[in-house]
Amino acid sequence: MRIGLLTEGGYPYVGGDGWLWCDRLVRGLDRHEFDVYAFSSGEAQEDAGWVPLPGQVRRVRTAPLWATEDDGVVFGRRARRRFREHYGELAAALCAAVAPAAPEADRFTTALHGLAELARDEGGLVSALRSETAVRALERACRAPGAQRAAREARVPDLLAVAAHLERALRPLSLDWYEEDGLGAVDLCHAAAGGAAALPGLLAHHFFGIPFLVTEYGVRLRAHYLTRPDSPPAVRSLLAAFHGRLAAETYRRAAFITPGNTHARRWQERCGADRAKLRTVYPGMDPAPFADAGDSLREADPHTLVWVGRVEPAKDLVSLLHAFAMTRAAEPKSRLRIIGGPSGPEGAAYLGHCRTLAAQLFPDEADGPHTVGDNPVSFEEPGAPGPATSADAHAAGAVTVLSSVVEGFPVGLVEAMLCGRATVSTDVGAVVEAIGGTGLVVPPRNPRALADACVSLLRDPERRTRLGAAARARALELFTVDQNVAAFRGLYLETVAHTPVRHPVLDDTGDPLPFAAPAEARVPGHWTTDPGPRAVPRWAMDTPVPATETAR
């Protein structure tokens, strides 16, 4: 099977968002071919280069979404009129003050397809999208009766800002990927993110009927709401309408939608995704580095709590330190190791604050009158002096603690689960979803509850072991690379099974050849090679004569 992998700012570039899972997916599905269609997110990323690509990646095509390249395409009179019509429809669909479930969704779709066809016929839209025609169409739509209140108040700079943003967002339309030998040649498109990355999939579906899958670990629409809080209301409402309708259209056309966690799933449902198409596929982690730590439960210091992660205010270490003060009052031998570097200048300031607080809360202590004292709370950077890997970090303690107040998918928690450690975490983000019943969960910002949970685990080694084993089993079942890859393999096959063969094979005279592409062509591996002598059951050989010729 040939899969078109659509990414934005990630694979195959080094260090982009989510490149790791794409890499594991591509390497895991080595019986399929991959065509990678990637948008780069900036010049720095392009300079950083690609990750080494395995042999199953047949082709990589990239396009920058951040750079404007004036294509110099000049439209004729008819093309200009088509552009005016379609862009006007698009603008009207964005300005209409009705929920996206209404006929506006169809209007948006029609306009988007119209623009895509125009771009394909004329060779590019960039100049047109920056032209006066576009700005005028926007103005007309904003001033039309029935427009949203915020849109009606749009001023000239707002119109220009919206036009510039739409030009950037619609750049995928002008690409030359929608050819028979480009995206038309793949069996299936898999968009690694929503938004711009899904747009080529949407267009391939429109032009060639190619089914597509959308995977979202974080919902793009939500990110758009958070990116421009300072823009005027008119700009925000028009762009929110655009991204909302694009997301709804993507979800409507996708064969399957795979959110990475329940939070993403809820947003997708909210934006109009059909529940029947939703399949939650948890991000996969490589369990191999944690295997040793999971087996060596005995080595852990039974009095040590460990916190692992990047230090930033959202992790709420202050609450953790207060909780530890209460824990220590109940269990004087307990220690806390905070392992992790600061993230950014804000994180560095927060780390300094936490160090000061720890020094104030816990005086240095020594075993006897002749030994050098030490603080029960230690701050360690991962690497040279501290534990080398995150598996070592989790292995260093009996209990792993997570005290965040804001969290997405808790990767650190899953690592602790893979190490077979008992965990105490706060009820934020996807924590409950990840931990299930295999760890203790307390409300965020409640040091007393956190302390009580820690004390109960520190005092009960047997429970700790039981919870750790259960957590490990759960993580190995749900959060491994294998399950992630297997889930996508199944989804690919299911998607393609629902899609009839579309490629008509032509003979020399240009007539279609019937049955030229059999269903077996999609079976992974080489189906035409001879598998060798078949094992024939003896009863089949013992009866060489057909029983009754006349019975047929």
Binding site: T68, P157, L160, A163, R266, R445
Partner: protein, 371 residues
């Protein structure tokens, strides 16, 4: 992250309307939001989850956000103040356009005070320095093209037009009278005179060109903020464009008169003014991303001048004497008729084009980034 402190406090016990307290806490977010999803995204960023929402007797964050959105009074919203977009003011970029004038003045002085082979070297060095100075001016500051626009190949034609202003009329007269017999000697006199005053004036005019362009862009940007609609904007910017153009012509006239007086040369006013107008308008259009029309017009103008010269030389071929008649008639009517007519028509065309294109709002879109 400054709101972390107010997370999950939930309703105070016994409060009749728990959502009211939440509304008060996130008032800015709710007032600003354009739809309930924006409030939901904001609340989630502040750490409110479905379980928190349950405490406010809501099924999830979305329905809580919907209630907040519905409860915020939205009638008396003050209009969003449009912050005046500060023009990027680069002092160096505004002083840089003085450089070509200075270089050109130095070159002309050097030409006047040298002779023979030294003069040739001085001329070559002057041309080289002027090229570099012009490149620097056109790469940076108000006269530079936006990064995303294709770089048009107009340099060759621009140099031809300037070269014609320097040498062309002399060559044309020589050609009509049967010359030239030797290369120009680099002086204002001689049989093939160099007219340095127009070139010096044009080089000096780089500075007013950059300043007036800056003035125009800044004015247009201010008008963007204060205009109600696109028509309104176009109507208010068009007079500014014409005013800018007139200001530049005035400055060029003053510079040319001064230069001619200093160099003791006649002031070829029509030819230089039309050429200056043409180059200024072409650059103004290019600086706003319209590169196609200037390229075509500059090519046509230079082509017309080349043709004019070529017809005069071609008339020497047997049987082709009639070819030079139009040019000879024009030159007899006015010695500088060829450059004046060609550049004049071109400048007029570009002026009409610019007065239609530049007052449009789309000409002032924020520039895109280049690859």
């Amino acid at each position: 992250m400054s709101h972390l402190g107010e997370l999950n406090r939930g309703p105070s016990p016994g409060a009749a309307d728990p959502v009211k307290a939440l509304l008060h806490r996130h008032r800015d977010l709710c007032l600003r939001a354009v739809d309930p999803l924006e409030i939901a995204a904001g609340l989630e960023a502040h750490g409110i989850t479905d379980r928190t929402a349950a405490r406010f007797r809501h099924r999830d964050v979305f329905s809580l956000a919907e209630e907040l959105y519905a409860r915020v009074p939205r009638d008396g919203d003050p209009p969003h103040p449009v912050p005046p977009s500060a023009a990027p003011f680069d002092r160096a970029a505004l002083l840089l356009p003085l450089l070509p004038g200075a270089v050109c003045a130095a070159s002309v002085t050097a030409l006047r005070h040298t002779d023979g082979g030294t003069r040739l070297y001085a001329a070559a060095a002057g041309v080289l320095a002027l090229t570099l100075a012009l490149r620097a001016v056109l790469r940076r500051g108000p006269l530079s093209t936006p990064a995303h626009a294709p770089r048009p190949a107009t340099a060759a034609w621009t140099w031809w037009l300037i070269g014609y202003a320097l040498l062309g009329d002399g060559l044309l007269h020589l050609a009509i009278t049967g010359g030239p017999d030797s290369p120009p000697d680099g002086t204002g006199g001689g049989h093939w005179p160099l007219t340095t005053a127009p070139v010096l004036a044009l080089a000096l005019a780089c500075a007013p060109a950059a300043w007036t362009t800056h003035l125009f862009s800044g004015h247009a940007r201010r008008r963007l903020g204060s205009s109600r609609g696109l028509e309104d904007f176009t109507a208010s910017v068009r007079p500014v464009l014409l005013g800018t153009f007139a200001l530049f012509l005035l400055a060029l006239t003053a510079l040319l008169t001064t230069a001619s007086a200093l160099l003791d040369e006649p002031a070829p006013l029509p030819g230089t003014l039309t050429l200056g107008a043409l180059l200024f308008l072409a650059r103004l259009l290019m600086a706003h991303g319209f590169t196609h029309a200037p390229k075509v017009i500059l090519t046509l103008t230079a082509g017309a001048q080349v043709t004019a010269l070529a017809t005069v030389f071609a008339a020497r071929l047997p049987g082709c004497a009639a070819l030079s008649a139009p040019v000879e008639t024009l030159t007899a009517w006015h010695p500088a008729a060829v450059p004046s007519v060609t550049c004049g028509i071109a400048a007029l065309t570009l002026l009409v084009h610019a007065s239609r294109r530049l007052p449009r709002a789309s000409a002032h879109l924020p520039p895109g980034r280049a690859r």
